[in-house]
Structures are given as structure tokens and as C-alpha cells.
Assembly symmetry: C2
Homo-oligomer: 96 residues x 2
């Protein structure tokens, strides 16, 4: 169950997301995760551009910001965007 309602972000989480989005490459990764229903292992575009270590780092940042969720299934890692968190971020942003 992916569930989990999220209506308000802590200041800390808000900052984490803002930081996560600020890096173009990380944002590109996030976009791909959002596009795919569930993102399989090494199917990220960035695999051709960036080193595995860096990708892993970015994904870690994204998960720690609670923007994406990781589900390991064998050697595949399924990545899914947490829409609720993303929406919360947008909503908080738009109330500038």
C-alpha cells in the first residue's frame, strides 16, 4: 500500500525538496521517475552521462527528501514519485 496522505511539510522537508530540485540533473532524474509509472533499475537516461555513484547519491537525496519511494525487488529498484509530497510542496510554494 503506497498510501500516506501528506498535507503539510515541515520546514526541514520543504528546504530539502527545494535543494533537491535546485540541481538540474537531480530534477531531470525526478522527472523521469515521475514519468514512468514505476521506474526500473538502470533505466535512467543519466546512466549514459553520470557515474553510478552519483546517480545513487541523487536518488538518496530524493528519498531522504521523501520525494520518491524505493522498493527493492531482486536487483531491480522500483522508484516512484510521492505525488502527495510533491503536491504539498507545490501548494506551499504557490502560497508564497
Amino acid at each position: 500500500m503506497p498510501v500516506a496522505k501528506k498535507n503539510r511539510l515541515t520546514q526541514e522537508q520543504f528546504d530539502a525538496i527545494a535543494r533537491a530540485v535546485a540541481d538540474p540533473r537531480r530534477f531531470a532524474i525526478l522527472k523521469q521517475i515521475a514519468a514512468q509509472p514505476t521506474m526500473g533499475c538502470g533505466s535512467l537516461e543519466e546512466h549514459k552521462t553520470i557515474s553510478p555513484a552519483t546517480i545513487s547519491h541523487h536518488i538518496k537525496e530524493l528519498t531522504e527528501a521523501e520525494l520518491v519511494e524505493v522498493a527493492r525487488e531482486g536487483r531491480c529498484a522500483h522508484l516512484t514519485l510521492r505525488r502527495d509530497v510533491w503536491d504539498a510542496y507545490l501548494s506551499q510554494l504557490s502560497s508564497l
Copy 2:
């Protein structure tokens, strides 16, 4: 007439805005500018916290991201948020 329609952001501008928003203090400044209709000289909260040099720097960043507009009137600097740009940013974000 403050005018100026802005429907689409260049990648460069998008990144600049994302970066600008990523810094908590700078975002706080932006919020105050957004709140006040026109923000007078040294009426920023941050004047008690941050050095003038730093404030000036942040405002420069914000203007270079075209997020705020500066109008000098004597020794006062009027700061206004460019809603069109901000909305464009939000819109672009939400289409993840």
C-alpha cells in the same frame, strides 16, 4: 503599468529560479517582497539578521532570475515580485 507577460521560462531562467528558491534566507526575502505591495528600502526583516552586503547579494540574485523588479526612487528601492514569472515557474514545476 508593470506589464510583461511571461508564459514560458528558458531552461536557464528555470534553473536560476530553482537555485534562488533553494536558499532559505533568500526565499524568506522573496516572501516578504511578495507580501508587501511594494517593498521599501530597508524594511526587510533580515536587516536585523544579515549584513547589508548579503542582502544586496540576494536581491541581485532574485532580480537576475527576473523574479523581482527594482525601481529606484531616490534612496529608496522599491521591490516587487513578478507574479507572471513566479506563476510560470509554478506551472512548469507542476507539469513535472
